[in-house]
Symmetry: C2
Subunit: 225 residues, 2 copies
């Protein structure tokens, strides 16, 4: 564990815990390091979850099997991210599987331990604050993508995404963090069809784009061309 104390202390979750409190806190949380080889299954769907995982090193693939046994990719989790945080808090069974795609290290800890009524150290409160912020951050992130996918056409998905990017950058001109293929995956549409739709939107005067740079155009401005 001591080998990874620095890494743990760099994570969003434990960053604000005073360095001297970290080791006893981890002990209180009944935490444990586990090492996974590339390809090794870390978590299988169907198990009741008690501990949260914090990825210290490596990358995990998060996926699920449907009723007909087909595998579906959900997300790729990288160093610094949590896993099973929701099931651990709510004490539910996970429907997801997790496999290491490269050699990985996970810190497992019992977050509910921190909520015990009789233990109220400062570092406990700090950890709870950080943990809640992580849950809230994830919620907002899921809401954002959900509102992009909750559209009936590629055009509307694009406009939804670009609208929020403009809001996020507080400007009608901005760079997006995706290339075309990544954007198509994010919106769950086919790359070349999306590319065609972007061209159509540009022709229609909604925007200008080149690579990952975008400029959105207001209808009122468009008519003044």
């Amino acid at each position: 564990m001591t080998d990874y104390l620095k890494t743990i202390h760099k994570s969003k979750l434990f960053r604000k815990v005073p360095e001297t409190d970290l080791e006893p806190l981890l002990e209180q949380l009944d935490s444990q390091l586990k090492f996974y080889r590339a390809g090794q299954v870390a978590v299988t769907a169907g198990r009741r979850v008690r501990r949260v995982g914090l990825i210290l090193e490596g990358t995990l693939n998060m996926y699920e099997y449907d009723f007909w046994g087909r595998e579906h990719h959900i997300d790729t989790l990288k160093s610094g991210m949590l896993l099973l945080e929701n099931n651990a808090v709510s004490g539910t069974v996970t429907i997801h599987n997790y496999t290491a795609v490269e050699s990985s290290v996970i810190l497992w800890f019992n977050i509910r331990e921190i909520l015990r009524l009789d233990e109220t150290h400062t570092s406990n409160t700090i950890l709870i604050q950080s943990f809640m912020k992580e849950l809230a951050r994830k919620n907002l992130q899921l809401y954002t993508r959900l509102s992009d996918l909750d559209r009936m056409s590629t055009k509307e998905k694009l406009l939804s995404f670009l609208s929020k990017e403009a809001l996020r950058h507080n400007s009608d001109e901005f760079d997006i963090p995706f290339d075309r293929k990544q954007l198509a995956d994010y919106l769950s549409v086919e790359r070349s069809a999306m590319s065609a739709e972007l061209s159509a939107l540009a022709r229609a005067g909604y925007l200008e784009t080149r690579r990952n740079h975008f400029k959105l155009l207001k209808p009122s401005l468009r008519t003044e061309d």
Copy 2:
């Protein structure tokens, strides 16, 4: 406030707080009741959020405006549900608007107050537990829908949704909580096209359905017909 103490105590969030602790706790949280007429705007996008809202009575419409000024419905919030919980925790600005669709009552309270390092009453810890569970529950709910929408065709969206319903009911035969129109909205597809796709799936041997009752069929069983 006293008029609504019973309602508050019935909510998921405050249910587990001892009844005698409730009123002082609400005071500690700097809480406040607000009343909204039908049609009245409760929250406008762009404001930094400090308090969480708990809907005690009524219904709110949650929506956003895109860059081009078009309004998009996000969700309909009913009695017992929280609003702005994520922005309040993370201290961020909300991009959503909320309007009362009928006469409504909201309890506003400062959840961060509960996380102050110097205040550690039992009821505080209980509230934090309930609040975290709500965040986690919402996260799981968003993940569920997201994985249904993250498909390229109506057929795949349906199979994803039905798979998880089967898992949830722990049975290949179950009732879904939607009628056809609601299901189409949930999956962001057109009702009649979805209806046609369901018929096609039934013909192809994936399932049997009548109204909101479904029975999923395994390929292996299908071939034995």
